[in-house]
Amino acid sequence: MLLIYCPNCLEYREEEEFSYGGEAHIARPLNPETLSDAQWADYLFFRTNPRGIHHEMWYHATGCRRYFNATRNTVTYEILETYQVGTQPQITGTEA
């Protein structure tokens, strides 16, 4: 049971209010038709799945209904920061 700081509600809220949104910062290709099947598949199916720092989307489903991003350590489950969609994380890297 994670405790997640919602950057819109400005407080820590319980995990059961949220749903997980998968890896963040994956832009949809602007011209999908120009991509090869392999390139499209890379966008569609392949994720980094790192051991350590991971940037991911969360949806405050029963709260403010906003998506936001979180930087989470996939080993310790520690959430190092949450930040607005469209902004960049302060904490980056691959190792825990």
Binding site: E33, D37, W40, L44, T76
Partner: protein, 1005 residues
Amino acid sequence: MRQLNRLLAAGRTDQNKVLNFTFNGKDYQGVAGDTLASALLANGIDVVGRSFKYARPRGIFGHGPEEPNAIMQIGSGASTIPNLKATQVELYEGLEAASVNGWPSVNFDIMGLIGAFGRLMPPGFYYKTFMYPKKLWMTYEHFIRKAAGLGSSPVESDPDSYEKLNQHCDVLVVGAGPAGLVAAREAARTGARVIIADEQSEFGGSLLASTQLIDGLSATQWVADITKELGAFSNVQRLPRSTVFGYYDHNFLAILERRTDHLGISAPSGPRQCMHRVRAAQVVLATGAFERPLVFAHNDIPGVMLASSVSTYVNRYGVAPGNRLVLAVTNDNAYQTAIDWYHTGRTVVAVVDSRTAPNGVLVEQVRALGIQILEGHGLIEAVGSKRVRKALVAPINEAGSEVTGSVQSLVCDLIASSGGWSAAIHLSSHTGAKPVWDASVVSFRPGESKQQERSAGACKGTFGVLDGLIEGANAGAEAAKLAGFGEGQVQFPTPLIDQIIEQPQQALFLVPHSKTTSRAPSQFVDFQLDVSAAGIELAVLEGFESVEHVKRYTALGFGTDQGKLGNINGMAILAKALGQGIAETGTTIFRPSYTPTTFGAIAGRDINHLFDPERYTAMHRWHVDSGAEFENVGQWKRPWYFPQVNETMQQAVDREGLAVRNSVGILDATTLGKIDIQGPDAAEFITRMYTNSYLKLAPGKCRYGVMLKEDGMIFDDGVCACLSENHYLMFTTTGGAAGVLSWLELWQQTEWPELQVYFTSVTDHWATATVTGPNARKVIAKVCQDIDLASESFGFMDWREGTVSGVAARVFRISFTGELSYEVNVPAHYGRYIWEQLIEAGAEFNITPYGTETMHVLRAEKGFIIVGQDTDGSMTPADMNMDWVVGKNKAFSFIGKRSLERSDSVRENRKQLVGLKTLDPSAVLPEGAQVVNDPNQPIPMSMQGHVTSSYYSASLGHSIALAVIKGGLSRMGDTIHCPAADGSSIAAEIVSSVFYDPTGARQND
């Protein structure tokens, strides 16, 4: 019956309050304040159970959650709980207890015969023997379980209620022994919200059995005072009888509070147990320590106990579990037990100390009492069968590795042992902290904190009471400060207590025997699972090196005590066998739960009608009153069909369907998801989400659309209406509503924030009644005068605003039946009223309410798909023969479009939606049936597809089915077969999926 072992000094019990109880069907008496264990000992009960593998008789060994032997079934009937430890069960009037592992009786046991063959059951026995042949495993497993005596679950539903509370606090203190009590007090005075929980019936922990004075008061009086002091703080919640059983991510801890278990049948109504789900800013762990028994030959005979347990029974419960005590120790601390026993007036035969020249304070006190101390000796073997009769002792070398002299025999009926103390590091381990071996205290200590927690007192390896008090106070003040309260300074003076200086203990775990470990009588490490020192050595001989592997191979620590008693001894013996230190060997990982937890407490009140929310429409009570049978659609209860007297389901569905086709029916369509969409970019956004375009959809118009996931597979479908410029209403499937809304939000918020559009769920706001059938217009005309219903002004796929029976309504001409349809939407407060008005208006046309089953039949007759029934997440629009809904020339590459061109999406032989018409018109194919070309081919047959929907159609007079079949659209007219498990097969012809009114003339009417 006389309580042979009851002392005059009552300890914490009230000997004036006699309580009657039964054990294995026999009547006994105990007193208020007893645990079941202390009462059994008072009555001189030696054998309380049988061991797992060898069925050896076992007696009470400990006094708390470490107890491995006295595992009980408590109560009977629906309220019974299996696998409780007698040491943790408070005695109450009328308590019924039975051994769980004595089948069929603890004193004479057919499984005892297996004990004679114990040598034939080495570690890994189950893996080596019972796994093969594989098909017999279930048989073995059944036998093992029964023999192992895991207790029995009640078969009736639980009559008790259980509570669940979500708690938040600044400081959670786990354990109310000396360290925990002062920690809570320091945190409390800062104003922090404090919860202090302890698993025992009263606060005090080890102090409840202590004979020391604190601040000049008896330890129990000091505990009573500080407990009262804590109660005076409004910011402190005290939870006795409350086990913190799990420490989870981000300082989330779970507590099981036993509220009425100790009251038995006299319990008042109200929850039996309460689960506290605690989010704590800071945690202080003060969970104490477990005494470690010495491992020696036949150390499992009833009458062998922990030294501290003997003291606890004497001091706290006023029970002396024997007459002649031999005490085997490696440390000063346990000498207290000899002193305590001496003061009962019973005999201390000898203290057997493994050290050569002990001379600590307690040692000298014992010596002064004239008690014999055998220095440099080991207690190498207990003798007896159902009770200890003798202890064999011998001189041992300084290293404690071998017997160096002749063995002498001491007559006794009680052996207490102490190999030192093991810190209760379980909760700290739950956080992922890696325990650290500390040779100076011969114990693991908690590892580096992974969460906002700190340990204090014995659970940190600080075994002296004074040191524990100091550490506890500091921990409480520090935790409060980090939670934002106080300055971190200890406020209260350190309680005054004599510090007893102890001489170093010896790190001895396995006492040597005159024979080698493999030849000596069994030296048990884990009592529940009969893991012996020889077994661990054998595992090493067989090549196991990792502690985790040895644990699983030998089953060390697998019992309901989870190795609280035996694990450290096991690790030490393993380390020695591997020729390395305990630090390098490490320990296994403790995981939740600390002690077993009832399912009742985990479920709480989320049972029966509250298990899952039932969502009702505004017309629900009308349906109930009209005798509807209901179907679950997501969390919604939808009318399934409305049987009339003596009608079968098929008859009802036939009648309802014919009514729609021939006159008019009415359906509660409230549950469809509805999303209000507003904004200058609404049309652009919607067009990106659906396969078709909405850019030119005019106000007053509706359009059917299909939504894909980015992989090109159908995810939802429904109608979208243009309400006014920049304002749309999107209908979703009943089950897909929440998923579609978050899907829209995902794309708008994360991918296209520049598109100006807002989404709001209005599913609950509207109640929807669908009036459908050739007479639908006539019915609507009776209740609605301000909409021109003529087909040319209000056509198919139009919507209008108007007044229906005095209520402002939106009326949509959309159809899921293929008939002329009007979907009347009103704010839900008016839902039942409008429904009844429509029923009344339709009476002259015999308007017929119909349910979801008829709806399914009618739409299948039209070949309309149901997402999630005819599709399964792997179907493209082309697979559903719905290419017409895909706007291939849309400017923007809508969600899923690119994937429709992937090689797998365009490959030949994809499964395609077709109709099936059985050759026998009355045969209804089973939904899910596999389709094959030749039913006589050998198994495994070559599957061509499967049936997705199948019904009997009353209006067509034959059965109909929809199926997805490889290349099905180019196989019209082919005959296929649906074989059943019983060998029969139904033949059907592949036909168009549209069975009824293929031109759509009726819905367009």
